[in-house]
Amino acid sequence: MRDTVELLEAIGRDATLRRASPEVLARALKATDASPGLLELVANGDGTALTNELGLVDRYVEHMSQTGAHEESLLN
């Protein structure tokens, strides 16, 4: 089975796949022996299996405090 993380990165730099339709992408992924979780995400938009396969955990995305919140003086 193809390494999912490497495969995703490869798709991201492949001009023929980056904007491909879900159908085209699904065919290409099956041909590369993609994992069941990745196939499920592409086919149905359900990332549950991929999350379990890779042990994914949600990331916090805030890297900036709100200007005007407490500790504002520490911003500078």
């Binding site: 990165e9 890779l54 990331r59 919140a69």
Partner: protein, 281 residues
């Protein structure tokens, strides 16, 4: 010769470079950012998607995620100061450090700027390399050119904390909607009521039925952008994960400024208007 010996025996000077990972895995990482990551002694990472972090580990196994420093109820400013300190500890130890942040490291990110400021003040080399930001993706996916009508970007909470004037003749783009109205810095998501309050504030400047766009750029290349158009009054009921940005298109036409146009006429009378002369037969 003595100078050469001195240089070869001295401890390596630490350095730090803040780089952007871009938003979409595989599509956005710049060559120079990739090289900083590959050649670093230590890589610190604050990314928006765990899959991207897993890929980064393959690029350089000396990765240290900054995610564990977050904690519900803990001020994020404390977290960000800890990030700066842990990165500077490695710089002071003589390491070549790379700090990787999703998107652009200098946009809506406090610690990349701060660590460069601190490192330079202590005499270390420190740089920032730009990355493709969510803002860049937004322009491409929504077909907005910020030069056409202008574009006003605000951290959403500022509309509730301060008296800010919105330019309704240009695009207004509001960020960090997930924590809008949070003054504690200890929450990662405020209840929908806070976004309803934001809607109430926006309705002071816009009609409630004004169409707005809820936008989210894709982090994985098998996904497309999330683009949902709703009436302003329905903004809080849109599909919402906490990673979205609110785009408010212009509500009014640009109004010609007669005073300054007249002043331009005066200058044109002296310097020429720049219009190609008409060809006479």
């Amino acid at each position: 010769m003595n100078t050469s010996n001195s240089a070869s025996t001295s401890a390596p000077r630490g350095s730090i470079t803040s780089v952007g990972m871009g938003i979409t895995l595989g599509s956005h990482l710049t060559p120079i950012a990739r090289n900083y990551i590959e050649t670093a002694d230590v890589v610190f990472a604050a990314l928006s998607d765990h899959v991207v972090e897993l890929w980064l580990e393959r690029l350089n196994p000396e990765i240290r995620s900054l995610q564990p420093y977050y904690k519900p109820g803990k001020s994020r400013m404390k977290t960000y100061r800890e990030w700066v300190e842990v990165m500077m500890t490695e710089v002071r130890a003589g390491k070549r450090v790379c700090a990787v942040f999703y998107g652009h490291p200098g946009i809506f990110a406090w610690s990349p700027h701060k660590v460069i400021e601190v490192a330079r003040a202590e005499g270390y080399e420190a740089y920032m390399e730009p990355g493709i930001s969510a803002e860049d993706c937004l322009y491409a996916d929504l077909g907005i050119d910020p030069a056409r009508f202008g574009c006003q970007h605000l951290e959403a909470s500022q509309l509730l904390f301060f008296e800010r004037n919105l330019d309704t003749t240009g695009h207004v783009i509001l960020w960090q909607l997930g924590v809008v109205g949070d003054r504690s810095l200890g929450r990662f998501r405020t209840p929908d009521a806070y976004r309803e309050l934001l809607t109430e504030r926006l309705c002071q400047d816009y009609p409630a039925d004004h169409e707005v766009i809820v936008y989210r750029a894709p982090t994985l290349p098998i996904e497309g952008p999330h683009i949902q158009r709703v009436a302003l009054r329905d903004f809080t009921s849109a599909e919402y994960t906490g990673h979205e940005t609110l785009v408010i298109p212009p509500a009014q036409a640009l109004k010609p400024n007669a005073v300054w146009r007249a002043r331009l006429d005066e200058l044109d009378a002296i310097h020429g208007s720049g219009i190609e002369p008409a060809v006479t037969a």
